[in-house]
């Protein structure tokens, strides 16, 4: 695991998302002040979840074919996706946001 600095809290307002150019790519979301990190590539097709739409119920909608995933668990909630997204730990220290990125497969 590597603790990767992403940005400051001011750089990622609620409803915002950011794509991390890791391997695999990670999407970091701010849902009402809570930060969640999921695999960025939709499990259904080639879409960047960081371009997705964060819903009030703590889910994100894929921008290409509208599958919903739970931000907390990565669970695929609606068609057309059936495979869950991987999740990654996040950490806020002061105003800095970090994501714990696996190192084994880099």
């Amino acid at each position: 695991m590597k603790k990767l600095y992403v940005c400051t809290t001011a750089d990622l307002p609620p409803g915002g998302a950011r794509r991390l150019d890791t391997s695999p790519a990670i999407a970091l979301f701010n849902h009402n002040g809570d930060y969640y990190a999921l695999a960025d590539l939709c499990t259904h097709g080639s879409a960047s979840m960081s371009e997705g739409y964060i819903e009030d119920d703590c889910t994100v909608e894929c921008p290409v074919h509208t599958a919903h995933f739970c931000l907390k668990t990565g669970k695929a909630l609606t068609q057309p996706a059936t495979v869950d997204l991987a999740t990654f730990e996040t950490l806020v220290e002061g105003d800095a946001i970090y994501v714990f990125v696996p190192t084994g497969d880099r």
């Binding site: 371009e51 997705g52 739409y53 290409v64 057309p80 059936t82």
Partner: protein
């Protein structure tokens, strides 16, 4: 696989005829709505329900990456859904609540859902080309086409609709040369906003597709050297190796008609999904549903409609609640770009939100300053708030604000501007 005998027990039996998107969504929704009776899903194809959108795209170009199956194989057993795939229903006795399969087996039901969908409209002139001619509706169709589409082959696509254009894009990616022949003077004749049609045409031409619009064919033959020859009414020949045609669909309404249900450009259902026999419901491509909000019957041949209407009617069969109806929406993926269309395509004005980043843009269709439709190109993120705008009949007061791609549409929707 099946031991359904509806008459041996007093639990209610719901039967779904049609193993496509609508049927799959319906059986899932029945269980989600806590229906504890028996569910029997009968599909005509020998596969569990699968997604059709990839058939003209990933399945042709990158089959190893295509995800077709809607639910994993274990899903149906886990949910106690009895399945019969590869079974064709030959008779529906609506008075006796009885279905007869081609095998002679019979089932009685308490409620029935017809999700029979549609098939590719036949073009007899081209069908006489035998193994050189292809349609695209099923998994088998797609596999057959894939094995024939080789680099350098000369493909003639007849029909410039969504299937024709997606196949053209896939064939180009595979190294074929492509000519699209369309009878109308424009591509995507139905249901597509004009600005999007222009963009798609330019994109295809840039990639090397040749378009022949306004062409009516009156001859088709295979010559001795193996070429396929299509001939236009004005005598012009089109020569190729393969022909794919996509000229629309024919609805699978024969069963509904034979059972005496009201069928008129689709099986007519109310806002609960009920046909003219209230214990028989219908959903999907073959259905024309009453929408209380628009006061029209409407029929859609889209994935989104099959998915949401299938689920809504399945739920309604259990709960008795009316279906919620979404803003019509569809997508197409061509040359790596994602195009989404929502609402009405008949706008009097299209307001453009160009981001300046490649293709990424949004167009909002207005009638009397009200947002009625939209197109997004590689910008699906905006489709969600736009669908809310369309549903709420969002009135535009500040065009410059709406045209500014930096303005967050979600915030505009939330403050109602």
């Amino acid at each position: 696989m099946m031991n359904a005998r509806a008459d041996v027990s007093d639990v209610p039996v719901y039967v779904v005829v049609g193993g496509g998107r609508a049927g799959a969504s319906a059986v899932a929704a029945m269980r989600e709505a806590n229906f504890s009776g028996r569910i029997l899903l009968v599909g005509a194809e020998p596969y569990p329900p699968y997604e059709r959108p990839p058939l003209s795209k990933e399945m042709l170009v990158k089959p190893e990456a295509a995800q077709l199956t809607i639910y994993p194989e274990t899903y149906y057993a886990d949910k106690n859904i009895e399945c019969l795939f590869g079974g064709s229903v030959v008779r529906l006795d609506s008075a006796a609540h009885r279905l007869t399969l081609a095998s002679g087996e019979e089932f009685t039901f308490d409620k029935l859902l017809l999700a029979t969908g549609a098939r590719a409209r036949a073009y007899p002139l081209l069908d006489q080309l035998g193994e050189r001619v292809f349609t695209l509706r099923t998994r088998d169709d797609s596999e057959r086409l894939r094995s024939a589409l080789t680099p350098g082959c000369r493909l003639l696509v007849v029909g410039g609709g969504i299937i024709g254009l997606e196949v053209a894009a896939s064939a180009i990616a595979l190294g074929a040369t492509v000519t699209v022949i369309e009878r109308a003077d424009r591509l995507m004749a139905r249901g597509t906003p004009d600005p999007l049609v222009d963009i798609l045409r330019r994109l295809h031409v840039e990639k090397g597709v040749r378009f022949e619009l306004g062409v009516t064919l009156n001859g088709a033959s295979c010559s001795n050297n193996g070429d396929v020859l299509l001939r236009a009414e004005d005598g012009r020949p089109f020569i190729g190796d393969l022909v794919v045609y996509g000229i629309g669909v024919e609805l699978n309404t024969e069963l509904a008609v034979s059972a005496g249900l009201h069928v008129e450009n689709g099986i007519v259902v109310d806002e609960y999904g009920r046909t003219s026999r209230p214990e028989i419901y219908a959903a999907g491509d073959a259905v024309r549903q009453w929408n209380p909000a628009t006061r029209h019957h409407q029929r859609f041949e889209t994935w989104a409609n099959a998915q949401s209407q299938g689920a809504a009617v399945g739920r309604s069969m259990v709960t008795g609640e009316p279906c919620s109806m979404d803003v019509p929406w569809y997508w197409t993926d061509q040359y790596g770009h994602n195009f989404q269309v929502a609402g009405s395509h008949e706008a009097s004005e299209w307001l453009h939100r160009n981001t300046g980043e490649g293709f990424k843009s949004t167009m909002l269709g207005l009638v009397d300053d009200v947002v009625v439709g939209a197109v997004t190109i590689d910008n699906g993120r905006e489709m969600r708030p736009i669908r809310t705008m369309i549903a709420n009949r969002f009135k535009v007061t500040d065009r410059a604000l709406l045209a500014d791609p930096r303005v967050d549409l979600r915030k505009l929707v939330e403050c109602g501007r």
